[in-house]
Symmetry: C2
Subunit: 251 residues, 2 copies
């Protein structure tokens, strides 16, 4: 058994272009059922999934993801939400007084949503599907909430675009495990250890090309100046905190 | 391939008691390597893992997890951290100005940490290991930061206790997929749909026993009054926001 699951994970790639092949409902449902086996806080399963298949709804969602083409081109788009609404409604129906309108409850439901999402992706990839996460979800959560009619105590945290791969891209480079594993206590990084950890990433031709295309001097500058710049980080931090307030998670 | 990964997930249980069998370093490293294949924000891999094997360090961590016995009895305890420190240090070494001292950057690193953690667990279980997540990590993050010497921009988000299962408990009940899957837009829950969704959970003998043992009238009251009560939710929300400020994620 073990070799199979590890082969799937070992060979995984993010898939951003999809063939025209439809995803059967039976497969999608099987994957939801499998993902529901993921562990969650007190087995409360504090998540929901909104399935978008209709063309017009994909078009509505696309701008919230800065019009990344996967949103309209994937056969299925899944918006994974932290959801304390369902559980709270159950409490209210059962003579219990829920108090989950706070930050720690948002974190619990976010953790649950991510355990569900990642198990979904691990299983989907084992079944030959390709997946791509869209981190833009928390940037424009307010817009997504409107489009999907999400009530209080429901916040979208990640989006998965899903489809059969049109082609298999090369695998992303990853840090060696010594880069992120610390024994017993955290050993902070030094100039030398940083050089060692990032040497391989910086040596790759595709990354050198990336620097050139963006007219930067270092790969790190592509991240700080272009991909994840201060202006966006600050702006979307404020927006997301407002969304958490609006959805009732900061009372 | 597909049947194997899905069998592992389909049969998964949270394992809270472990045999004396040690976990080989080679296996642990293989699992870290596999988990590192999980997708992350811009492939930045914004996480770190602190491995606790030493008896005395487990004893230090235990109170932060309300002395749940898994912490001292598991052969390996893994504290999974959202980590923007390593990446920021790399930027500083490369003539780039990082600006990841904000909430959206915390969320990005939390998402990355959870993708890593859940893929780790999926693979560990496929290899015959048992895992248990400790959600107490965000409750007492401040204490854990001290014990593990975590610098700024590093916050513990979940803990995994890991070992070979001593025995295989029964599987946790899970909601049917119609409980959490919404087509195109969110359909809010009604009294009827709540009754239907939670009927199975409420019918289980173990849950009826749980109500009786806790001297409550409904299962929901066990959650609201005992397991996740208002007092704790409010208190630990404030504490965790303070920790995020202290670690530099709310500037």
């Amino acid at each position: 058994m073990d070799n199979m699951i590890t082969e799937t994970i070992k060979n995984r790639r993010t898939i951003r272009t999809y063939s025209n092949k439809e995803i059967e409902d039976s497969l999608l449902n099987e994957l939801f059922d499998l993902a529901s086996k993921a562990p969650t806080t007190g087995n409360m399963q504090l998540y929901s999934v909104i399935v978008t298949k209709e063309e017009e709804n994909k078009k509505l969602l696309a701008p919230a993801h800065f019009n990344q083409p996967m949103v309209t081109k994937a056969p299925v788009v899944l918006t994974i939400c932290a959801d304390f609404n369902r559980f709270s409604k159950w409490c209210e129906e059962r003579d219990a007084v829920p108090c989950y309108n706070n930050f720690q409850s948002f974190i619990a439901s976010l953790l649950d949503a991510m355990c569900f999402a990642q198990t979904f992706c691990d299983c989907a990839e084992a079944k030959g599907l390709g997946t791509c996460y869209l981190g833009t979800t928390t940037y424009n959560a307010g817009k997504i909430i409107e489009i999907l009619s999400l009530p209080k105590l429901v916040v979208p945290v990640i989006t998965i675009t899903l489809g059969y791969p049109e082609s298999i891209p090369s695998q992303a480079d990853k840090l060696e495990i010594k880069a992120f594993v610390h024994n017993e206590t955290y050993k902070d990084y030094t100039s030398d250890s940083i050089n060692e950890i990032y040497r391989f990433k910086e040596s790759l031709e595709e990354n050198k090309k990336f620097i050139e295309e963006n007219n930067k001097k270092t790969l790190a500058q592509v991240f700080t100046d272009i991909r994840y710049p201060e202006k966006n980080n600050v702006h979307f931090s404020k927006e997301f905190i407002e969304v958490l307030k609006q959805q009732g998670f900061m009372d």
